[in-house]
Symmetry: C2
Subunit: 362 residues, 2 copies
């Protein structure tokens, strides 16, 4: 994007809690601006705009259509319940809006294909709103995992994401409603685990997924906690645990032939301004196996912008390149989003089929 | 053991590398003394005694029989290859020697039963040499896991133990020889993972074990790396990864309804004098999910005696109580050793049966 180019104008569909965080991120991102918000309730949209840093000239609509039909909107951020994603993402794409889509992106890969096809055929940038991917720490960690001397070849990954939800959440949140977010904890927290595993394997799609135990369901049949393993043709293996019923955990342990990496707050860092991870490389026993040499190393990454602002900035950069420089959309994001969904679908099928291994076909 | 009671006299069968570490531990333990060592080579035994702190009056034998027939020996430490455990452990028990047995304790639970039966019928203390169980850190961590307010109910455990072995090890070590240690990495490193999982679940035996991918084998068919999951009747689930082909890793992540615990050097602490772990309890998001509150806590446990000396001290205390105070053997150790072996056997069966789930019967 040229220096003088105007910031990318965002419209937001709905007033979800997470949209407050992304509104702040748009405000913090130098190449993006809050331009419009739409809700089925004009009053709600007005209050949302007023309390989330929208500029005075921002548009407020009493419908989602208002946003996607506004010709000044460059891109939409869609934090609607998953069951509404296909409808609104496809409509937005038809109106030439670039798409930043909250996860889980779809109820299944069939739905996701409709969304991706709509974006692709309209020349639009697609990105899922997986914020941690954009943290500078993630780049540093990926650099370590790519180092043949320090890390070697991937052998095993374990990922977790859990948080203990309130009784109110268990009764009312969209993430426990079969008609809204039917994938439950697998779609919400499992999405991050699967993405973490794909990330650690440099996005090599596993060949199969196996759920590891009968998940915990709510009365409506929505998954509240589950675990699965993924395996590849070679000797790599991955496992994950995701839950709404477990205290906060966000771990990735990546083990390679020559080194390993650990991070314990990958989804949302403990603190916004700095984030940690640890690595170990070419460790051996000291004499008589009384300790390690070398010991693992701690790393701290300082962060001027929060990770969600880095996400918005990168998305807006790609949109700007299309808008101002006739660039093509960056296809990395639809590709890894689709792989994530394929794995989620396979885990769901394994759960539904009594824990049978399910082949994953790219 | 009364203050004036003589230290427990240890005999060591064989001159394994690990026996050097345990010899040092016996020396460091105030209630134990190095008394005898036997090897098939008298020369080797003599050199071992001379270089591992045996007192001048210590007995040196050119056979294992010499040690177990020495009436002054109270207890034997047996670091022989696993395939020899039944023979020598049972013979030692018949000679009324208390038994500190290196892991893996047996090739299968059938063999282990012979050993335990020999110890029990002779009124002898049995303990497997799983050193980390005796670190004061382990006690502190167990205390946290037992706290219903800070940890809650167990939901998930993940454990790892791996180290990258040398080409020499891969050709020559007993742990890759089917006639010596047929369980390979599962018996050596997997033993610790399974014990860690049992420990975290307060030794509740899982109902089933499932291997997660085709293990890596050497040319002789010995396992060099594998992964498995364990599940219980309720919603608990555990996974582990163990390997000879992966850089050093020793993780336990224990996740509960109200808290979680992480340790990354549970088998052998990074340093001998202090050991760390971290816990998190009742964490929640800060406003807008920009961080955690409270953040996880780091704990440091200072250690005057190395964990293996704590192990020897506790074993010698139990032996002393039998010898001097007519106490009964402590049956916790045979019980958890047997549970560990039962799980190892089930994982091995699952591997052999093409990753089928295997029921674990107590």
């Amino acid at each position: 994007m040229a220096e003088e180019a105007a910031p990318i104008r965002f419209g937001i569909l709905g007033c979800a809690e997470i949209a407050r965080k992304v509104s702040r991120a748009i405000t913090l991102s130098p190449n993006a601006t809050l331009y419009a918000v739409g809700s089925r309730s004009l009053d709600k949209a007005t209050k949302f705009a007023a309390s989330n840093g929208f500029p005075p000239h921002a548009k407020v609509y009493g419908s989602y259509e208002g946003v996607i039909e506004d010709p000044e909107v460059d891109a939409v951020y869609v934090p609607l319940p998953t069951s509404l994603h296909v409808q609104w993402a496809v409509l937005a794409a038809q109106k030439k809006k670039h798409l930043l889509l909250e996860k889980p992106v779809a109820l299944n890969v069939h739905d996701l294909h409709k969304i991706l096809e709509a974006c692709e055929s309209n020349g639009l940038q697609y990105m899922d709103a997986t914020m941690w991917m954009h943290h500078p720490r993630t780049t540093q960690m990926f650099h370590f995992l790519s180092d043949p001397q320090q890390f070697g070849r991937l052998q095993s990954v374990h990922a977790t994401f859990s948080y203990g939800v309130s009784p109110y959440f268990l009764e009312n949140d969209i993430r426990v409603k079969p008609e809204l977010d039917a994938l439950g904890a697998l779609g919400d927290t499992g999405w991050y685990c699967v993405r973490a595993i794909l990330w650690a394997s440099n996005y090599e799609l596993p060949k199969s997924a196996t759920a590891l135990h009968k998940p915990t369901y709510n009365d409506a049949g929505v998954i509240l906690a589950c675990a699965a393993s993924l395996s590849w043709e070679d000797d790599k293996v991955a496992t994950f645990y995701c839950s709404f019923l477990t205290d906060m955990s966000m771990d990735i342990i990546v083990m390679g032939t020559k080194g390993s990496l650990r991070v314990h707050d990958y989804v949302i860092p403990n603190q916004e301004k700095e984030a940690k991870f640890s690595t170990s490389s070419n460790s051996n026993w000291v004499e008589l196996s009384l300790g390690w040499a070398p010991n693992p190393s701690e790393h701290v990454v300082y962060n001027d912008l929060p990770q969600e602002a880095h996400m918005v900035k990168e998305f807006a950069r790609l949109v700007g390149a299309i808008k101002y420089n006739n660039s093509k959309p960056e296809d990395t994001w639809p590709i890894i989003s689709r792989k994530t969904q394929l794995v989620i679908d396979a885990v769901k099928t394994s759960i539904d089929n009594g824990l049978e291994p399910v082949e994953i076909k790219g």
